[in-house]
């Protein structure tokens, strides 16, 4: 990403985009819709409800809800989510600005990581999960990446992309397996660096708001990752720091050290509750009913921050970022419901996963 100074993109205010986003957000899936959806008995019922009662009606208009496959329904919803992004960025042609590449870069990283996992699993089914509608927008061919069968092939394939330099030194083990965790850390770091860098192109007040939102996101993602490492892998402070995205948000290094040095997941949660984010979560009643579910609480906080940012924002960049995050959560909620219903998860349990 380039090193432009603050204010490179200050020509237009893009109020129309801000207004359009608010109008689009007004059509979101509501708590009442979710409550209705979790009671459905089949994927067909869910598709029928989405088709008749939500903004997904357009993308589902021609499908036969009675015969629709779960995977196809999910892929349609995912594509629609991307179409929303296209509609917003195309509205006042702001998509040409570097910042708005975040959605494509994020999708490319997901595809590369998915490819690595298929390589590690010696599996060839990646093509089924490839979001083919992105072909042409991505910096590599999506059909061809699905044909890659080894890390060496992957590196060769990515040679002409920005990802080659990032991944070329990642070692493989004697079986040719790749350390997916390390690659993910490298790629996501690159993504966040790019976001923070691109935000600098905006005038200072706008850039500050964007930074705050991005860094808060990174803070909470770091905390979620650290908790997982502590709770499920018993990682120590240094191991966690190695996998922490190094951006300073509201959590200082000293605070993070204190948190990461917790002796157990339980202690981690206790210490977290005394941090800034822990207090905000408690004050806003965002704690999960399951006291241990720090991840759900943190994600609820991210959701709340995004809603607030969208409500208060007067700039396109903040609005687009917040809106796409909120729509991402909506998509995640719907997929949780679809899979929950498909695999017979009790509705109460599905409901507890919904962020609204």
């Amino acid at each position: 990403m380039s090193n432009k100074k603050h204010g490179s993109y200050t020509k237009g205010k893009y109020y129309a985009t801000v207004a359009k986003i608010r109008a689009m957000y007004g059509k979101r899936v509501t708590a009442e819709d979710y409550a209705e959806l979790v009671t459905k008995q089949s994927v067909a019922d869910i598709a029928d409800y989405l088709k008749k009662n939500t903004h997904y009606s357009t993308v589902l208009s021609s499908v036969d809800v009675n015969t629709i496959h779960r995977g196809f329904l999910e892929s349609l919803l995912q594509r629609y989510n991307f179409e929303l992004y296209g509609r917003i960025t195309g509205f006042e042609r702001i998509g040409r600005q570097e910042f708005y590449n975040f959605k494509i870069i994020s999708a490319e990283i997901d595809i590369i990581l998915s490819c690595m996992r298929f390589i590690n699993a010696d599996s060839e089914g990646q093509i089924e999960s490839i979001p083919i509608y992105l072909n042409g927008m991505t910096s590599f061919d999506l059909i061809e990446i699905a044909k890659v069968r080894s890390f060496a092939e992957l590196l060769e394939f990515l040679k002409k992309t920005r990802y080659y330099e990032l991944l070329k030194d990642v070692p493989t083990n004697e079986n040719g397996r790749i350390d997916c965790g390390k690659c993910e850390y490298i790629l996501r770091s690159y993504y966040y660096e790019g976001l923070v860098e691109a935000s600098k192109h905006y005038r200072k007040s706008e850039a500050d708001k964007l930074d705050l939102m991005i860094l808060t996101d990174i803070d909470l993602i770091n905390i979620i990752n650290a908790y997982r490492l502590k709770e499920f892998f018993g990682s120590d402070e240094n191991e966690i720091f190695d996998k922490t995205f190094s951006f300073e948000g509201r959590m200082s290094k000293a605070k993070l050290e204190e948190l990461y040095s917790s002796g157990s997941g339980e202690e981690f949660i206790k210490r977290f509750s005394k941090t800034y984010y822990g207090r905000v979560i408690a004050e806003n009643g965002l704690d999960s009913k399951d006291a241990d579910d720090l991840e759900l609480s943190a994600n609820r906080l991210r959701f709340k921050y995004a809603k607030t940012a969208l409500r208060d924002s007067q700039t396109a960049s903040v609005s687009v970022y917040a809106f796409m995050y909120l729509m991402g959560v909506e998509l995640h909620n719907l997929i949780s419901i679809i899979e929950g219903v498909r695999y017979g998860v009790p509705s109460k349990q599905i409901e507890s996963l919904i962020i609204v």
Binding site: G125, E128, Y133, N135
Partner: protein, 645 residues
């Protein structure tokens, strides 16, 4: 303007005559039946009849006939040519039903075929462009052909499978799909089927009856659909012709069976014992002579007439007696609840006050006449019960419109009329007399409130309800108190100083004390001893707040009538806006603005004024003297309205 007086009727006889008696009762149209077992007969050893209605089955069959033939079976005058044999064993109805079932079965088969061919046609239409014979394709030994639709996203993934042996061709495109076929060697079919399954390919099975190329098949299927549609039309015609030939008999039979069915249902109201029956109910006093004559030819049946309150367990039903003008307004009274048997019929009072309120608030000659016409049409063509009310209030609106000089918002259109008639005091321009209009509303309201209180006093004295008639806020005490305050205030306003200590003590304080002590005073009037429940403290607290509420009520109820004046002004103001808008537009558009404006104002004002008038009736007037709780007088009759659809 009263409540119809009733007679309590006790009919007794031998059980063999029960059906004949019930038939007479349902034919006479003036007998309100009650359960004889509930009316003390039980104590005399009587019990009710618990039988299944034997006519249920035949009427259900007739309902089925009606549904199958999509025809309405209703009641008719059963003529002398009615063939009684048709009622024997129900064989006629069974025969008609069987015949219709057979025809309906054929129609269902044809309809199903049409659906099947239409589905096949819609599928094959998606494959237009396939220039190959379906039969030949399906008969290939070494290749498999699958028809269906593939999501466009999945189609874009097909290059990934370049090394697999299959060929996909699409013929038409939908929003999300390509319709087409894939061909693969038999040896690869399993693998390729799996690939297409993972790509969400939705396979369709081409029916065996599809032949030739897609173009041929489309033509053939369309022809088949046409054939079957003609067959269906022919069957519909047969059913229609058949039922038209039988409908006279069916209507007669329905009338015959329905009357027996409903009469049989009445048996459950009778009480029986040892071969005897008892039926009780009420008959309007005015019909009692005619009613008695009905049983002259029945020797074993005795009919005893008694006063309406003869049976302590049965409250006499209420039949309101109204003249033609007030009759439609009984709907409002019934909506609120019928009066008690010894109460008052307020319909005439409602008719007058409602018409007056509506007319004052809706004063416009044009609007009033349109509403009146609309009401007349709604009654004539739809029997809409609000229609006659609209007619009356519309005319009232037109009369007040003449007083205000307003015709569809034109305030000077009637000026030549007044001049020609030599009326100098009209028109009474609404917008030039705002204060008069608002005060006028209150004056009318106060006048009506006094009448309401007087009605309550009269009814209370008649029914010996002294607390309500003498000492309540709607009794003499309230009348004196409220009247004295108003008279005193008005006199003081106009310089006549009549309010002095004696005036205050006798006409204001004394009635207040009477209202406060209304309960013990009413006991005293009746010569009974009053027992204070809950102690003196409770008595004082409860009555203090109640009297305080009475005082508030006088103020709020009086002010409530300001709305009458308010709506007069709102109607006139809205029309002023319409006229102002009409002046702003081009000459050609003036009629459109005036018409739309008038329609809008008429609609919204009629609704508002109608509701507000009703509110005044229920809250400010009825609450002063009216207690509902009466049972409507519903004479037994055969309910032919329940036509079989």
């Amino acid at each position: 303007m009263s409540i119809e007086k009733m007679e309590f009727v006790n009919i007794a006889g031998l059980t063999k005559d029960l059906d004949a008696v019930l038939e007479k009762l349902s034919e006479c149209g003036c007998f309100h039946i009650e359960s004889a077992v509930g009316a003390n007969a039980k104590s005399k050893g009587f019990s009710s009849l618990k039988e299944e209605n034997p006519y249920n089955s035949i009427l259900r069959k007739m309902t089925e006939i009606s549904a199958l033939a999509n025809v309405k079976i209703g009641s008719v005058e059963v003529g002398e040519d009615f063939d009684e044999n048709l009622t024997k064993d129900g064989k006629y109805v069974d025969g008609v039903l069987e015949k219709l079932k057979e025809l309906a079965k054929q129609r269902t088969e044809v309809t199903d075929s049409i659906g099947e061919y239409e589905r096949a046609l819609s599928q094959v239409e998606h494959l237009k462009g396939l220039d190959a014979d379906f039969e030949k394709l399906f008969s290939c030994e070494h290749i498999k052909v699958r028809f269906g639709r593939l999501p466009i996203d999945s189609y874009n993934k097909l290059p990934y499978y370049d090394d697999k042996t299959f060929y996909f061709e699409y013929f038409t495109e939908e929003t999300e799909y390509y319709w087409g076929l894939y061909i693969t060697p038999v040896s690869c079919a399993e693998e390729v089927d799996d690939i297409f399954k993972s790509l969400y390919f939705e396979r369709i099975r081409i029916a065996d009856f599809v032949h030739g190329t897609s173009e041929d098949a489309v033509a053939e299927l369309a022809a088949k659909i046409k054939d079957f549609t003609e067959k269906k039309e022919a069957l519909d015609k047969s059913i229609s012709e058949y039922i038209n030939g039988e409908i006279k008999h069916l209507d007669e039979l329905f009338t015959h069976y329905k009357s027996r069915h409903d009469n049989f249902d009445l048996r459950s109201k009778a009480a029986v014992t040892n071969g005897k029956f008892a039926v009780v109910g009420f008959v309007p006093k005015s019909d009692s002579d005619t009613f008695l004559k009905l049983f002259d030819d029945m020797d074993g049946v005795s009919v005893v007439m008694q006063p309406a309150d003869a049976n302590g367990q049965l409250a006499p039903p209420i039949k309101l007696r109204n003249n033609k003008f007030a009759q439609p307004f009984s709907m409002f009274v019934e909506m609120y609840g019928l009066p008690a048997y010894n109460g008052v019929n307020p319909t005439m009072f409602v008719a007058i006050t409602y018409t007056l309120f509506f007319g004052i608030m809706f004063g416009d000659v044009g609007h009033g006449l349109v509403i009146a016409l609309l009401g007349a049409l709604l009654w004539k063509f739809k029997r809409f019960s609000l229609g006659p009310i609209l007619t009356r209030v519309g005319i009232s609106g037109a009369i007040f419109g003449f007083i205000y000089g307003s015709v569809f918002g034109y305030e000077h259109l009637l000026d030549p009329v007044y001049e020609a008639l030599g009326i100098s005091f009209l028109p009474f321009r609404v917008m030039e007399n705002v204060t008069t209009i608002l005060i006028g509303g209150i004056v009318i309201g106060v006048f009506i409130m006094f009448i309401s209180i007087m009605i309550n006093i009269i009814v209370g004295i008649k029914n010996k309800e002294y607390e309500s008639a003498l000492f309540s806020n709607n009794g003499i005490a309230g009348f004196v108190f409220f009247g004295s305050i108003l008279v005193g205030a008005v006199c003081e306003l106009f310089g006549a100083h009549i309010v002095n200590t004696a005036y205050i003590l006798i006409l204001i304080v004394l009635p207040l004390i009477a209202m406060f002590l209304r309960e013990p005073l009413s006991y005293w009037v009746r010569g009974k001893k009053y027992h204070m429940e809950g102690g003196v403290g409770d008595f004082i607290a409860a009555n203090f707040f109640e009297v305080f509420e009475f005082l508030l009520g006088y103020a709020t109820n009086t002010l409530s009538f300001v709305r009458v004046g308010g709506f007069v002004l709102s109607h006139a103001s809205m029309m002023l806006v319409v006229m102002a808008l009409a002046e702003q537009v081009a000459a050609g558009a003036v009629p459109i603005v005036v018409i739309i404006g008038n329609v809008f104002v008429m609609g919204i004002e009629a609704l508002l004024v109608g509701i507000q008038s009703l509110r005044l009736e229920f809250y400010e007037i009825f609450s002063r003297f009216y207690t509902g709780g009466g049972t409507p007088f519903t004479p037994v009759k055969i309910n032919y309205d329940e036509t079989i659809e």
